[in-house]
C-alpha cells in the first residue's frame, strides 16, 4: 500500500532529487549552527518551539519539491509560508519584525493566489491534479490559455522567488528571522519558487513560445541590477545579503530563461547547457548564501548589532568567522577557484554559445544581457569588498566591535561545513555537471546521453555535442587552483628568502597625530561613487548641517544621506493608499442610522424585483 501511495503522490525524478539535495545541503549545517546560535539568546521553551517549526519547515519544503499532486503541492506551499512567517516574527517584541512578517506573509499569499488560479485552469483541461496527467493534457491547451497560465505562474512563483517588482518583502523578511533560518530561507526556500517555474513552465507547459524566455530574461536582468545596486547602498549586513539573494535569483533565472528560449527554438544542446548553468548557480548560491547568512548571524551574536558602520576589526577578534565570511564573499563575487565563479562562467558561456546559434537581433540582446550580468558580478565584488572590509578589517569603530568574541564551536562547525562545500563545489565542477545534466534532461525532457559537457573529471568543455560550432573553450578549475597555489608558494619562497624582519609601526598619518578608528573609510563613503553613478535610479537624498555652539564656533557637523526605495515609493505605496482610501469610502455605508438600513432593504427588494427577468 505504501509503495502505491508513494508512487501516486510523489515524483522522485532527477529534478526533484536535485532540489531535495539543495534543501538538505543548506539545512543540515544551519541546524548544527542553530544549536550554538539559539543557546543563550532565547528561552529554552522558545528554542524547543523553534526546533519543531524548523522540522515542519524542512518537511514542507521537501514535500513541495517532491509531490506529484497539485493539492498537496498547494498545502505544502502554504504551510511553508505559514511556518516561515512564524520564524520571521520569532522575536515578537520588535516592531520591525512584526511589520516584516506582515508584508512577507501577505505578499506570499498573493503569489499563492496566482498559483492556485493557474492550477485550477490546468485542472480544467486535465481533469486531475496529477502532474504527469496534466503534462500529457498540455498539448491540447489553446495558445491564449497557455500564455495566461504562464503569466500566472510567473507572477505567483516570482513573488516567492523575489524577482524585481515583487521583491519588496525579501529585504524585510530575511533579516528579521534568526540567522540560521534566514540562511535556509535564502538558500532553499526561494529556490522552491525556481523549482516551481522549472517544473510547471519548462516541464509541464514545455516553454513553447519564445517570448516567454525573453520575458524571463528581461525580468532576470532587472532583478540582478536592482538587487546589486540596492545591496551596495545597504549597511545592515543581513539586508545586504537579502538584496544579494534578489540578485542571485536573477542570475539563476538568466540560466532558466535562456533554457526556455532555446527550447522554444528547439536548440536541444543549448537548452540543456543553459539549464545546467542555472541549476548549478542555484546550488552554489544555496551554499555560499547560507554560509554568508551564518557568518552574519555569528557577527550579530558576537557584537549585538547588524550595522556594519559600527563594526570593524573583527578579523582579529573572530578569526575563523572572518575566514568563512571571506570564502563566502569570494564565492559570491565569482572569484576563480570557488563555485560562484564556475556557475557564472557557465552562464556567460551559455550566452556566448547561444549567440552563435541565434539570428541577428537576438545576438545583440544576448550580448547586452551578458554584459549586464558581468556588470552585476563587478558590482557584487565591490559590494563584498565593502561588506568584508568594513566589517572585519582595520580598527573596531564602536564598543560593539571592541569586545566581540569568537562564537561557539557548533556555530563554527556549521560555517566550516558550508565553506568546505563552497570549495569542493568549485573544484569538483566537472563531476557535478554530470548529475546536473541528468536533472536538466529530466526537466526539459531532452535525451542527454549523447551530449558531453566535460572532457574528463577535471575540464569543462562548452560545445561537446555541437556539430559545426566553432572550436571549443575549456575551463579546468582544479588546474587553475593548482597553478594559483603553486605560483603563490613560489612567490612566498622569493618573499621569505633572505629578507630582514618586518617592522611594525602605525599607519601613515601625514605625520600629524595618531589616527584612530574615525579616520577609517566608512561603508557610506565606500558606496558614494556608486550612489552618484546610479543616482538616476537611486534618487539619493543628502543633507549636511553645521550644529553651531555660537555664531563662530561649529560644535559638530551632521551629514545625512539615504536613497529612495523606488519600487516602494512609486508602486506599492500608491496602491496601498488607493485600497485604504476606497475602504474608508465604503465605511460610510454604515453611518449608524437605522432608517438608512431599512432603506437599503427596501432598495435591494425593489431592484431585485425589477431585474428579476435577468437572472
Amino acid at each position: 500500500m505504501i509503495s502505491l501511495l508513494t508512487k501516486q503522490l510523489f515524483l522522485f525524478d532527477p529534478l526533484a532529487l536535485f532540489f531535495l539535495a539543495v534543501i538538505f545541503v543548506v539545512s543540515l549545517p544551519s541546524a548544527v549552527y542553530s544549536i550554538g546560535y539559539l543557546k543563550n539568546s532565547y528561552s529554552p521553551k522558545k528554542i524547543f518551539f523553534s526546533w519543531i517549526i524548523l522540522c515542519a519547515f524542512l518537511l514542507s519544503m521537501a514535500l513541495v519539491v517532491s509531490t506529484r499532486n497539485l493539492i498537496i503541492f498547494l498545502v505544502a506551499w502554504e504551510i511553508m509560508s505559514l511556518v516561515s512567517y512564524l520564524f520571521v516574527i520569532f522575536d515578537t517584541t520588535h516592531e520591525k519584525s512584526i511589520q516584516a512578517g506582515m508584508i512577507y506573509i501577505v505578499m506570499t499569499h498573493l503569489g499563492t493566489v496566482f498559483i492556485i488560479a493557474a492550477f485550477m485552469i490546468l485542472r480544467n483541461y486535465a481533469h486531475s491534479f496529477d502532474i504527469l496527467a496534466i503534462k500529457t493534457a498540455c498539448s491540447v491547451i489553446p495558445r491564449t490559455e497557455k500564455n495566461i497560465i504562464f503569466l500566472l505562474f510567473l507572477i505567483g512563483f516570482g513573488t516567492k522567488a523575489g524577482i524585481v517588482p515583487l521583491h519588496i518583502w525579501l529585504p524585510y523578511a530575511h533579516p528579521q528571522a534568526p540567522s540560521h533560518v534566514s540562511s535556509i530561507m535564502s538558500g532553499a526556500m526561494i529556490k522552491t519558487a525556481i523549482y516551481g517555474i522549472i517544473r510547471f513552465v519548462v516541464f509541464i507547459l514545455g516553454a513553447s513560445y519564445s517570448w516567454w524566455g525573453i520575458l524571463v530574461l528581461i525580468i532576470a536582468v532587472t532583478s540582478c541590477l536592482v538587487g546589486v545596486i540596492y545591496a551596495l547602498m545597504e549597511h545592515d549586513i543581513k539586508r545586504l545579503l537579502a538584496y544579494h539573494s534578489v540578485e542571485n535569483i536573477g542570475i539563476i533565472l538568466l540560466g532558466v530563461g535562456l533554457a526556455m528560449y532555446f527550447i522554444s527554438i528547439n536548440k536541444q544542446y543549448l537548452a540543456v547547457f543553459s539549464l545546467i548553468a542555472g541549476l548549478y548557480h542555484l546550488i552554489n548560491h544555496a551554499i555560499f548564501k547560507g554560509l554568508l547568512f551564518l557568518c552574519a548571524g555569528s557577527v550579530y551574536k558576537a557584537t549585538g548589532t547588524r550595522d556594519i558602520e559600527k563594526l570593524g576589526g573583527l578579523i582579529k577578534r573572530m578569526p575563523q568567522t572572518a575566514i568563512y565570511f571571506l570564502v563566502g564573499s569570494m564565492a559570491i563575487s565569482a572569484l576563480p577557484p570557488l563555485n560562484g565563479f564556475v556557475s557564472e562562467w557557465l552562464t556567460l558561456q551559455a550566452f556566448f554559445l547561444g549567440a552563435l546559434q541565434v539570428t541577428g537581433g537576438m545576438k545583440l540582446f544576448l550580448g547586452i544581457t551578458a554584459a549586464m550580468l558581468a556588470l552585476t558580478s563587478g558590482l557584487a565584488a565591490a559590494c563584498f569588498v565593502k561588506a568584508f572590509g568594513i566589517t572585519f578589517l582595520a580598527e573596531p569603530r564602536s564598543h560593539y566591535a571592541l569586545n566581540a568574541k569568537e562564537v561557539s564551536l557548533s556555530m563554527k562547525i556549521g560555517m566550516f561545513i558550508l565553506s568546505l562545500l563552497t570549495i569542493c563545489f568549485g573544484l569538483a565542477a566537472a563531476i557535478i555537471i554530470k548529475f546536473l545534466a541528468k536533472a536538466a534532461g529530466a526537466a526539459t525532457g531532452i535525451e542527454i546521453s549523447s551530449l558531453k559537457f566535460s572532457l574528463n573529471n577535471f575540464v569543462l568543455s562548452t560545445n561537446g555535442g555541437l556539430a559545426g560550432a566553432g572550436s571549443n573553450s575549456y575551463l579546468s578549475v582544479p588546474l587553475l587552483a593548482f597553478m594559483l597555489i603553486m605560483l603563490a608558494i613560489a612567490g612566498f619562497g622569493f618573499y621569505v628568502f633572505g629578507r630582514k624582519r618586518a617592522e611594525i609601526y602605525k599607519t601613515w598619518d601625514c605625520g600629524y597625530y595618531k589616527t584612530d578608528s574615525r579616520n577609517e573609510y566608512t561603508a557610506t563613503a565606500f558606496s558614494k561613487p556608486f550612489r552618484i553613478a546610479f543616482s538616476f535610479f537611486l534618487l539619493p537624498y543628502r543633507r549636511t548641517q553645521k550644529i553651531r555652539e555660537s555664531f563662530y564656533h561649529v560644535k559638530s557637523f551632521s551629514y545625512e544621506t539615504h536613497t529612495t526605495q523606488v519600487f516602494k515609493k512609486y508602486i506599492y505605496n500608491p496602491a496601498l493608499t488607493l485600497i485604504f482610501r476606497s475602504a474608508k469610502l465604503m465605511r460610510r455605508i454604515q453611518p449608524g442610522s437605522i432608517h438608512l438600513y431599512l432603506g437599503y432593504i427596501f432598495v435591494i427588494l425593489i431592484s431585485l424585483l425589477m431585474f428579476m427577468q435577468k437572472f
Binding site: 449608524g592 442610522s593 437605522i594 432608517h595 424585483l609
Partner: protein
C-alpha cells in the same frame, strides 16, 4: 359588502401616512385592524369554517383591543413628547402613498393571478399595506412609529394570506399571532430601556455604533 371593507382598509392606510402624533397613529392602526376583523368575520360566515371564527376573534382581541391598549400605556409611561418626528412631512408622504399604490398595482398585475378582477385588487391593497408599514418605519423617527409600522406590515400580510390562499393552515395562523404579540411586548420593553438610557426615543439619534 366586501368592497366597503376593502375601501375602509384603504382609507385607514392613507390615514396612517398623515398621522403626526403617536396616539393618532395607534388609533388608526386599531381602525385598520377592526376593518380586517370585519373582512375575516364575513369570510368565516360565508365558508362556515370554525377555525376562521377563532382567527377573527383572536384578531379582534389582540390587534384591536390589546395591542393599542399596550401601546397607549407605553406612550403615557415614557412621558416624552408625542411627536412622531417625521422626516418626510405629511404632504410629501401622501405623494409617496400614491407612488406606493401604483407600485403595488404594477406588482400584483405582474403576478397575473388567474382569479377574478377583485382578486387582483385585494392583492394590491394587501401589498400596499405592507409597503406603508415599511414606509412608516423608514420615515418616522420615534421607536413607537417603527413598532406600529411593523404591525401594519403584519396586517398587510394577514390580509394578503386571507385573500390569496384562503388563509394559512390554522395552527400556523395561531403561532403567527402569538409571535406577533410576543414581539410587540419585547419591543415595548426595549422602548422602556431606550427611554431610561437615552431619555428620548428618537431612534435616529442612536448612532454610536458606526463603520
Amino acid at each position: 359588502m366586501q368592497g366597503l371593507i376593502l375601501s375602509g382598509i384603504l382609507i385607514s392606510t392613507y390615514l396612517m401616512f398623515i398621522a403626526k402624533r403617536m396616539s393618532a397613529l395607534t388609533r388608526v392602526f386599531a381602525l385598520q385592524s377592526f376593518f380586517l376583523f370585519l373582512a375575516t368575520y364575513i369570510a368565516a360566515k360565508e365558508l362556515g369554517q370554525l377555525d376562521l371564527y377563532i382567527v377573527a376573534g383572536l384578531l379582534l382581541v389582540l390587534k384591536v383591543l390589546l395591542i393599542p391598549m399596550l401601546l397607549g400605556k407605553i406612550i403615557n409611561k415614557i412621558k416624552v413628547s408625542q411627536d412622531l418626528g417625521l422626516f418626510i412631512n405629511a404632504q410629501i408622504s401622501l405623494f409617496c402613498a400614491l407612488f406606493f399604490t401604483f407600485l403595488a398595482w404594477v406588482f400584483s398585475a405582474r403576478l397575473n393571478i388567474p382569479g377574478s378582477h377583485t382578486e387582483v385588487g385585494v392583492f394590491a391593497i394587501a401589498f400596499l399595506v405592507v409597503l406603508t408599514g415599511l414606509f412608516l418605519m423608514i420615515s418616522r423617527a420615534t421607536a413607537l412609529a417603527q413598532i406600529i409600522g411593523l404591525l401594519a406590515m403584519e396586517n398587510g400580510l394577514f390580509l394578503f394570506a386571507a385573500t390569496v390562499s384562503g388563509g394559512m393552515p390554522f395552527f400556523v395562523e395561531i403561532a403567527i399571532f402569538f409571535d406577533i404579540f410576543v414581539s410587540v411586548i419585547i419591543m415595548g420593553l426595549f422602548v422602556y430601556k431606550i427611554n431610561n438610557l437615552f431619555t428620548h426615543i428618537d431612534v435616529n439619534k442612536l448612532t454610536r455604533l458606526k463603520g
